[in-house]
Amino acid sequence: MNDDIRHEENNSPEPVTGSLSETELDMLINRFGGDYNRATGFVPREEMWHEIQRHGSRKPVRAWPSISLIAAAVVLLAAGIGIGFELHSRGIARSTNATLATGASHTSIPRVASTTSSGNIVGDREGASPITHAPVEPVTPVLRPPASGAFASSNVGAPPSAAARSTAYSLATVRHFTAVEALLTSYQSAQHDAANDAQLAAWARSLLSQTRLLLDSPAATDPMRNKLLQDLELILVQMTQLSPANTSIDRESLDGSMNHSAVITRLRTAVPAGASTTL
């Protein structure tokens, strides 16, 4: 049993002096070793099984979505922030242009409203004497609600021009297409289980509402874009109906719609190259 040990011991340069011999130690182990931490007769089977089951019942629901879903969600969030920022930027530029245009047409009327460094409108400057010579037409004072925030001045001015609106809708549509493409790609690559399907359905639900908003907006005036949005609406509706109880049928139907309308290819065509990263 201990041949290996004895062999190593014989090669040992300094044998343990005054200690037990190997035989004596073996004797001790044979007599008492088996009692070392010997389990008592009772094994708490049921208690342990109950704990194992309790853990098992928690386990199937994954606390974290898959990496692809997280990545897609990040893309969606970034797209939303980008759209908001872009629209705000354009709004500021538009209002600035409008202000300049207004200023040009009313050169005799000084602009008496100003903004603080934080963008709050402070109204007429105290002590400033209004210049009153020969206005071409009376200026109707505009009651402005107190505004705050960096973009408060963006509310100033006329409604956006048709071109600006068209650009904004185009941007929003491209962003939306990018988000839908991310969803559909995730759907194709994700493992199909109940947890993933539930997340995909929730994601599709949020995109579905955006799709319908875009369908009702001037973004849908372009026939090709309109058709694509309609197809997306159908696919997203199908995706929102993914359910663990009926997943295979749902998925077959969804896959059929996606293949039939070649929607991913059309989405990729509709989104300009690099738009997802630069917009």
């Binding site: 040990i5 001790l28 182990i29 931490n37």
Partner: protein, 190 residues
């Protein structure tokens, strides 16, 4: 006429049970659990030395095993696979406990136990057990697996993920320490 439960259980192949358990079939998991729990609890108790820790180790072993059953490649028996998980869990638990382990006494203290002039079996047993407890974790693990549980060096190496020579070396050093710490016992016995 119904067949006895044991016959039904034995009729199911282990492979079939494993695949069903991997698919979270509760009854298959329970069958596997019933088949192996005693051995796993026993080895967990060997390392832990107390019921609570042994129970935790056993539970964690089965929880982990059921989670990873899909990765089991049938390269060894399920029992061996479960044992290796149990030993791994036990070592992890013991490492966490190391600082607060009241049973873990310094080697010098274990040696002092041998100086007590009492040759009653109970005392001898306690001295040996205290000396084993005083071994460093690595030595103790190999010692318990080889000398008490009857593992071969090959099995220990596979279970612990070390070379066989490492297992042999650890055992050699463990025995040398035990012989040294129990040297006074020799005088008592003589």
């Amino acid at each position: 006429m119904t067949a006895p439960v044991t016959d039904i259980t034995s009729a199911r192949s282990e492979r079939d049970l494993i695949s069903r358990a991997a698919a979270r079939d509760s009854s298959a998991q329970r069958d596997l659990y019933d088949k192996h729990v005693d051995a796993i609890y026993r080895i967990a108790f060997r390392f832990a030395g107390d019921e609570d820790t042994a129970r935790d180790i056993t539970q964690e072993t089965f929880i982990r095993a059921f989670d990873r059953l899909g990765e089991f490649r049938h390269e060894s028996s399920l029992g061996t696979w479960l044992h290796s998980i149990a030993v791994s869990m036990a070592l992890g638990a013991l490492r966490k406990q190391a600082k607060s382990d009241k049973r873990h006494v310094p080697l010098e203290s274990a040696a002092n136990l041998g100086r007590v002039d009492n040759n009653a079996d109970v005392d001898l047993r306690e001295r040996l057990h205290a000396a084993i407890d005083a071994l460093p974790h690595g030595y103790r693990t190999v010692f318990v697996m080889y000398e008490i549980e009857g593992y071969s060096h090959q099995e220990i190496a596979r279970t612990l993920g070390v070379a066989e020579t490492t297992s042999k070396g650890q055992l050699f050093r463990a025995r040398a320490k035990l012989r040294e710490s129990l040297k006074h016992f020799r005088r008592v016995e003589q």
